[in-house]
Amino acid sequence: MNDVRFLDRKQAVPAIVGDPSDLLIVCGLAGASKDIAHLTNDGDNIFTMAGAMGGATAMGLGLALSRPDKRVLVVTGDGELLMNVGTLATVGIMKPANLSILCVDNGHYGETGYQESHTQRGVNLEVIAQGSAIPVTRTVTTEDQIAEAAQVLRNSNASSFVLLRVSTEPPPAVKRSMDASERKTAFRRALLGTR
């Protein structure tokens, strides 16, 4: 099943995330940030990146540990996650119940010209997440698996990881702020009412 990739992220990501308005979302660079910026109209409950590759899951973990009252969703790609795949082990030992991770795995580095990533060549990030002691994991390759995985991301009472296998169809075109300081300030003002 490792090479089954026919879901289009433009439909699959919104379907699996559902209503994003009550989530705090941290997005890894490139495709994942575009997916979520498009879904939320670059909302103030999302922190998107265009650098700091490998940092999204750790940033989401720091946020989840700080705000146990909120559901935190990390949306990342296979390349971004592979750059610091050890962070799954840190999630696995902390296990915050309010942290969910969605890895949009297209098997390629889309931003740099669609070179194959390790997941296209047999590496299975769900198995790594399981081996990292993340309590709840899923792989989604077909449309009929989306609804159950969406419930896991939203309602699991333990840290969860969903690997969403998608085709190499590009993420939606979107204009988004790439000013990390502006994003931070907007996020904190919306969540905390402060800079």
């Binding site: 941290v26 922190f47 650098g51 700091a52 750790a58 973990l61 840190t90 902390m94 990390a180 931070k184």
Partner: protein, 175 residues
């Protein structure tokens, strides 16, 4: 210095108290002898979330995430770990995130392991090249005021600050 490397010393106890008085309640660390007391106290304190990392750069992003949630964090590492963080420091500078990292230094005063020297020598230029500040504590009396200064610069002025707990302070590990 005759202090045994990594032994519990009063200034480390005081440092933990100072961090807690400043509402720091997320401690991220890669295990290190020089931070042993801080790490152990952070694990014992039920009000503190203590997170061992697989690599120091995770801690940079975690501290930024904690700030998004309105909480204060500290990142504990050894000088070699600074090299693991360089690109992630772009998040701190670019996002004007506060960051306080306490760095126990190796590769300087009295170092007996040649492997520690290159990164130890590079810490300050690397941190400053990434747009962050370096403050040095050379004696036990300097630790508290220096870390307080770092917390103020970070959380009042949105700066990234590395406090170098120097080898003169920590002692050189015998080889």
């Amino acid at each position: 210095m005759t202090t045994e490397y990594g032994a519990a010393v009063p200034w480390q106890e005081d440092l933990f108290t100072l961090l807690r008085e400043n509402d720091v309640n997320l401690f991220c660390y890669v295990p290190d002898g020089g931070h042993k007391t801080l790490i152990n106290r952070s694990i014992e304190d039920p009000e503190v979330i203590s997170v061992p990392l697989t690599t120091e750069e995770e801690g940079v992003a975690m501290c930024a995430g904690a700030h998004l949630g309105g909480k204060k964090a500290v990142l504990l590492m050894q000088s070699s770990g600074v090299g693991n963080c360089v690109n992630m420091f772009a998040l701190i500078k670019g996002g004007q995130f506060p960051l306080v990292t306490l760095v126990t230094m190796r590769g300087e005063f009295g170092e007996m392991n040649p492997w520690q020297v290159p990164m130890g020598t590079a810490v300050q230029p690397v941190v400053e090249a990434m747009g962050m500040h370096c403050l040095r504590a050379e004696s036990p009396e300097e630790v508290g005021p220096t870390v307080q200064a770092a917390l103020n610069m970070a959380y009042k002025s949105n700066q990234g600050v590395a406090v170098l707990l120097t080898q003169k302070l920590i002692g050189a590990k015998a080889f």
